[in-house]
């Protein structure tokens, strides 16, 4: 099992989907058990993976040290003069993937639990949810960009339907918007992948291909490529193997992305444009200003569990893509653009926080706060220091937990009253004390209170960013300084909300039936308390995660700096 643990982890929910197909009848109870069980199994598997993972497993850019790697040729397609497209089923895990896998297992499990009360077309819902459970871990584990893109795209469809069918009043609008935005991002990413495909080759696989000719070595192939003999040869093997792509030797010197290519479009090289396209593609997913407007709508309309998954994991794929693909493949460009990236980060942090401040819809406010927090990820990336990158990863992890908790909490209130407008409530704490306690914990966690996981992430990002600003002048000094205002703003909107909704004398808008305002049930409590517990656990003992992923992140940084 250990050799195929990654595949098992990814495709486990497929069994669940099959199981769903064989369960007959309209009783939603049996369906929900399937999702919960499958996600629980996934969680167990990823915890096993987490415990078995050793910090020494890093060196992401060579095949040797990828533990649990799975690599098998999927297909090789001859594309005439363009050479051969070789696609591998290539999975691997390093610290970065590890944290994301753990996060997605936790959040997906929480989401499955939150789907407990779905009664409308429960079978379809759970089937789609389980499909999400396949594509999300797949996305985090795929090391072949073709595979990555498949999983990436495959997330789109279930999400689209989950929002569009089980969503709120304006679900059509929200789902279409989500679809359009993400599609735009995917197209940009796809274009870059195509360019990558045509301008690189895979010497390792070419070795296998030409092994009949005795005495041919990788050097021969590389020399042939560099001397131009092998260009446009139909037998050149191209692949989207991330490890090969991240080696600059594997680019055709005269290809679109090669070192000798002087072609420019509007004054920028193709490499720069590719980087921009990747950046925008993933920033849409992240989302960052100005590509964020799909998120509030999608969140507001999505059912609770979907919001949880959306904020908890889907956004992280944007950040993951940046760290895993955009930066390592275009280090030079990423380094050159750091000022702009930092600017995007800072703008996102502040802009979204400002907008969150004046929201009257609780869920929308939290959605904007998610955007703001994702801005920190961008800022951490811009400086490209180990602390900052680790902070970014930790921010993704912790924000995954925190936003899952926050959206679950909103869901609790919405389930009861079907109203989430902040001004419609006052003094909730006296009616729902346990609920209010967890809300307070969640709010403080989200505003970066020390002792909660968000703090570690943000402080790491700040010191990383500032160190980058001082050491390498990657970003100007004012950026991390100004970004700290984000902390204040998030404290402002959270505390203001606390004051308005939870403190004061109890009263509600007349449209709300007060009898529905019951405090948390035991099962809700169990879920919410355990998530809060995790947040505090990872806040007090970041070593649990950071010690495992640290070496990977350090290797990432040194790789990036060497390449740059």
């Amino acid at each position: 099992m250990a050799t195929h643990i990654l595949s098992i982890l990814i495709f486990l929910p497929l069994l669940g989907v099959l199981g769903l197909l064989f369960i007959q009848g309209d009783d939603h109870r049996s369906y929900r058990w399937v999702s919960v069980l499958v996600t629980a199994l996934q969680l167990a598997l990823s915890i096993y993976l987490f415990t078995a993972f050793k910090p020494e497993y890093f060196q992401f850019h060579s095949y040797d040290s990828l533990v649990y790697m799975e690599k098998a040729n999927w297909f090789q397609l001859s594309l005439g003069n363009l050479g051969i497209l070789s696609v591998n089923y290539f999975l691997g895990i390093d610290g970065l993937s590890l944290s994301m896998i753990l996060l997605s297992a936790i959040v997906l499990f929480a989401g499955a639990c939150a789907s407990w009360n779905i009664t409308k077309q429960a079978k379809g819902y759970h089937a789609l949810y389980l499909l999400l459970c396949i594509s999300i871990p797949g996305c985090f584990l795929a090391l072949d960009l073709f595979l990555f893109f498949l999983f990436f795209e495959f997330m789109l469809l279930p999400m689209f339907f989950l929002i569009g069918i089980w969503g709120g009043v304006r679900r059509e609008y929200a789902s279409i918007k989500f679809f359009l935005y993400t599609l735009l991002g995917s197209i940009l990413i796809l274009i870059v992948f195509i360019v990558l495909f045509i301008s690189t080759y895979n010497p390792a696989e070419m070795m296998e291909y030409v092994s009949s000719n005795a005495g041919v070595t990788i050097q021969h192939i590389q020399e042939g490529i560099h001397s131009g003999e092998l260009i446009n040869n139909p037998s050149i093997i191209h692949s989207l193997d991330l490890i090969q792509l991240s080696n600059p030797v594997n680019y055709f010197p005269n290809g679109l992305l090669g070192e000798h290519n002087t072609l420019t479009v509007f004054g920028y090289s193709i490499r720069t444009w590719c980087f921009i396209a990747l950046l925008v593609g993933f920033l849409i997913k992240l989302p960052a200003f100005p590509f964020h407007t799909w998120l509030p709508d999608a969140h507001v309309e999505a059912p609770t569990a979907v919001s949880v998954v959306l904020a908890g994991i889907l956004l992280k794929i944007g950040g993951y893509g940046l760290i895993r693909i955009a930066w390592p493949l275009f280090p030079q460009e990423a380094g050159d653009a750091s000022w702009w990236i930092g600017l995007i980060g800072v703008t996102t942090i502040l802009y979204a926080a400002f907008v969150a401040l004046i929201q009257t819809d609780l869920k929308k406010m939290i959605a904007y706060s998610s955007v703001s927090h994702m801005g920190f990820v961008v800022l951490g990336l811009a400086a490209a220091k180990t602390e900052g990158i680790t902070g970014a990863v930790y921010q993704m992890f912790s924000h995954g937990l925190i936003s899952a908790l926050l959206f679950l909490l909103v869901g609790v209130l919405y389930d009861r009253t079907h109203d989430r407008m902040i001004p419609n409530y006052r003094g909730l704490i006296s009616k729902m004390p346990a609920y209010s306690v967890i809300v307070t914990i969640a709010f403080f966690a989200s505003l970066g209170l020390p002792g909660m996981s968000g703090f570690i992430a943000e402080i790491l990002i700040f010191i990383g960013a500032f160190k980058g600003a001082i050491d390498t002048a990657a970003i100007p000094v004012w950026m991390p300084l100004v970004a700290t205002l984000g902390l204040l703003l998030s404290a402002s909107y959270y505390l203001w909300t606390l004051q308005r909704m939870f403190f004061g004398k109890f009263s509600t808008h007349m449209s709300i039936d007060r009898n529905t305002l019951k405090d948390l049930t035991v099962s809700e409590k169990a879920l919410l308390y355990s998530l809060s517990g995790l947040i505090i656990l990872f806040g007090l003992f970041p070593a649990i995660l950071l010690n495992k992923i640290g070496p990977s992140m350090e290797a990432w940084t040194s790789f990036f700096i060497n390449m740059k």
């Binding site: 003069n81 079978k123 069918i165």
Partner: protein
């Protein structure tokens, strides 16, 4: 050699055609008597001939792989693995059409009649001849053999819509044929021969003045473009589609199109390097993509939507004609295979929904996704295939087509090709919107209809799933098919 002797020898290559002819006659015979005038008999006859023909072709393909390019019937027809394979595709398409008619809820009138089977067999026979044609004689004859039964099929529902569709189709088709004939006559005058694929003819034609070349090529290709409903020979398509039943529509949009495209591919192979031909083709394809994709966006009627979709798909398939080399031929076949499986599935589901909701406007399908979740979900996969989204082989089909054009662009650097690629990309994006139109109303609109008719659920589902299964499966093993095509398609 004695000509009769030659013909007798040639007949051995016409076994599938003979089978079709035989079953055609048998159906005719069966149709004469009240006792045997039964749907099942007709269908069984047709199916047996298809199956037998298909098996024979397969056997030939494996046997004759080593003896390519047999010209027979006094250089009128050609036999080689590519053509055998094309015929197999046509047979598969025919079988799908047959099953479609049997299961389609709206095709009761169609399947009860013997004529339907006769016409289907005739069309298929015409297609067999078309893909194997070496001479303009045969081209003309086979096109007529496809066209005339098609006219009858379209018009044979005998109601207002269908007759109108029929007459429009006929007038357009006849006019196109006339134009082509005139072109053929001029070609005959210019080159003193109609044996298109002979080296002599090619040589003579190459020496024809450019202007004359333009004229005759334009005139002759008109009929083929009409059959493939490419711009500007497309205007009949939406009207005819709208007026005809789903079963007929399925036949129209698959069998003749596949045959015509394969023939165009063969034609392109001999005209390769002739700039006037390739540019004409490129322009036509580009405009087809533009008009097909963007007009489809505006459609609210499922039939017209599929009509424009078929124009657009024709454009995408046609892109494979633009690229030179083996890859483009493989891409064409790959695309055609995906196309021949996905289009019947798409049309069948629409038929199914139309039958439930009693209307073919997209709005009529509102909310049906909740009543028919599985069917709707399969429909989404079908639509994904037509758009070219993973995880369906449509994705690879598009990739191959794009790659082949790009590759050709890299060698000749023609801005028109670049334009075609641009239009195709834009069209692909646009296609997301119109193909997702129906799933959108299936899932996201509230259910409005009060009348729901249930229909044969299981068998329909099985048919649709089975026809889409190969497409999904091909996504996971595209290299298998490509390797196969690599071996087979080289003889074109």
């Amino acid at each position: 050699m004695n000509i009769l002797e030659h013909i007798r020898e040639s007949l051995q290559f016409l076994v599938p055609e003979a089978l079709l002819l035989g079953s055609l006659l048998l159906v005719l015979f069966l149709d004469m008597f009240q006792a045997t005038r039964k749907n099942t008999y007709f269908a069984a006859t047709a199916f047996i001939s298809f199956a037998a023909g298909g098996l024979y072709l397969l056997n030939q393909l494996f046997d004759r792989g080593s003896i390519p390019n047999v010209e027979f019937m006094d250089h009128m027809l050609l036999q080689n693995p590519t053509i055998l394979f094309s015929k197999i595709l046509l047979i598969i398409s025919g079988i799908l059409a047959l099953v479609f008619i049997q299961l389609s809820p709206s095709s009761l009138w169609l399947r009860e009649r013997g004529e339907t089977y006769i016409l289907l067999l005739a069309i298929l026979m015409g297609c067999f001849f078309l893909v194997a044609a070496l001479n303009l004689f045969v081209v003309f004859l086979s096109l007529e053999l496809i066209s005339v039964p098609s006219y009858i099929l379209v018009a044979s529902r005998f109601d207002k819509k269908s007759t109108e569709a029929g007459i429009k189709y006929l007038l357009y088709g006849a006019f196109a044929t006339g134009v082509m004939l005139f072109g053929i006559s001029l070609i005959y005058g210019l080159t003193a021969g109609m044996d298109l694929f002979s080296p002599r003819w090619i040589m003579v034609f190459a020496s024809v003045p450019v202007f004359s070349k333009w004229i005759v090529l334009g005139l002759v290709l008109a009929a083929l473009f009409f059959k493939t409903s490419l711009f500007p020979f497309h205007p009949w398509t939406p009207d005819t589609y709208e007026g005809s039943g789903w079963g007929v529509l399925n036949i129209l949009s698959t069998i003749p199109k596949i045959a015509a495209f394969i023939f165009l591919m063969r034609l392109s192979a001999i005209f390769e390097g002739m700039q006037s031909y390739s540019l004409l083709l490129a322009t036509i394809i580009g405009f087809s993509l533009l008009v097909g994709n963007f007009s489809a966006l505006m459609q609210s009627n499922a039939r017209r939507l599929m009509a424009y979709s078929s124009i657009a798909q024709g454009g995408f398939i046609g892109m494979a004609l633009l690229g030179g080399g083996d890859l483009s031929q493989q891409a064409l076949f790959f695309y055609l295979i995906v196309y021949l499986f996905s289009v019947p599935a798409a049309l069948f589901v629409l038929d199914y929904f139309e039958n439930i909701s009693k209307g073919d406007a997209v709005n009529n399908f509102n909310g049906l996704g909740k009543k028919e979740p599985v069917m709707s979900l399969i429909f989404v996969i079908v639509m994904a295939t037509l758009i070219g989204l993973p995880p369906t082989a449509g994705f690879f089909a598009k990739i191959f087509v794009f790659t082949s054009v790009w590759q050709h662009y890299e060698t000749i650097h023609s801005p028109i090709l670049l334009g075609v690629i641009g239009v195709a990309v834009a069209g692909t994006v646009a296609s997301v919107f119109y193909y997702m139109k129906v799933p959108y109303s299936l899932f996201f609109k509230e259910f409005e209809n009060t009348v729901i008719l249930t229909s044969k659920h299981k068998s329909s589902l099985v048919f649709v799933s089975l026809s889409i299964l190969p497409v999904v499966a091909l996504f996971f093993t595209p290299d298998w098919l490509m390797d196969l095509l690599k071996v087979i398609v080289v003889y074109i």
